[in-house]
């Protein structure tokens, strides 16, 4: 679904909590970017954000094995891209997730734990709130420069 308001363009997709759904998310993002191109840095950060946040939610967000919906909305304004994630998983504010020890030599590195750190580093702001039993996360990516 695309919409417009004050020159913003957006698309929304609802997926199940299954990692295979990432293919559909990626295809949706690619189609959206074909129609609404972004500067290379913003496009790159968008791909990283989508995969890391959704993967984290699917892998660690649920206490049961049942099917859950995850809503993803991408809104592109002239200067910023806003990616909004909404899910009914356990409460998780990625802003408070521990920073991995990136100073350790590679032999001592724990594999994993990098995704949230990468999103925090590559984005330009994250907001989070818990409402009605749902996580609502917004990642802001500057689209003003390449």
């Amino acid at each position: 679904m695309t919409g417009a308001g004050r020159m913003s363009k957006s698309i929304r997709i609802t997926i199940k909590n299954d990692l295979s759904e990432l293919v559909r998310v990626n295809e949706t993002a690619v189609a959206f970017l074909a129609e609404h191109p972004l500067p290379p840095r913003a496009e790159y950060a968008l791909h990283i954000t989508l995969e890391e946040i959704i993967t984290n939610t699917i892998k660690y967000g649920y206490e049961d094995d049942g099917a859950h919906d995850i809503d993803v909305q991408i809104t592109a304004d002239p200067d910023v891209v806003l990616v909004r994630f909404e899910d009914d998983g356990r409460e998780f504010d990625p802003r408070g997730a521990p920073t991995p020890d990136i100073d350790k030599p590679i032999e001592e590195r724990q594999i994993g734990g990098m995704g949230i750190h990468m999103v925090r580093t590559m984005s330009d702001g994250i907001t989070y709130r818990r409402a009605h039993g749902r996580n609502i996360l917004e990642v802001r990516i500057s689209a003003g420069t390449s």
Binding site: L19, L22, V23, N26, P40, R41, Y44, H47, I48, E51, E52, T55, P100, I102, D103, P105, I106, E107, R109, I111, G112, M114, G115, H117, M118, T121, M122
Partner: protein
């Protein structure tokens, strides 16, 4: 995601990854990639010049490979990553953990310990 074998000799493994190194890409090539790199126990060059983006799953695969090679004292070089890919490696704190080089001849020398 595509894995291209450039050289497999007694003294060197040289491969190239092509496309997005995301979860789908890793699922597609991880087994052959590890088979052609980590399991060969040779000095290894991984050409990243055609990797369009890399997520934590891709980084995880590269760390696993580097760790496996490190255990047999074999070096690994990441060659010619695009700027955003290199930025991602830096964001993950890996610019010093991996040898990241942009010159093929230099990569060959460094990986062989010359």
């Amino acid at each position: 995601m595509e894995l291209k074998i450039i050289e497999e000799s007694e003294g060197l493994t040289h491969v190239a990854l092509i496309g997005p190194l995301d979860i789908a890409g890793v699922q597609e090539i991880e087994i052959p990639f590890l088979s052609h790199t980590a399991k060969r126990n040779k000095p290894t060059i991984v050409d990243l010049s055609q990797v369009t983006y890399i997520t934590s799953m891709g980084i995880r695969m590269l760390i696993s490979t580097a760790k496996a090679l490190s255990r047999v004292q074999a070096k690994m070089v990441l060659l010619k990553p695009q700027s955003f890919v290199e930025d991602t490696l830096k964001a993950a704190g890996l610019e010093h953990a991996f040898m990241v080089l942009h010159d093929g001849e230099e990569a060959l020398k460094r990986v062989r310990g010359e």
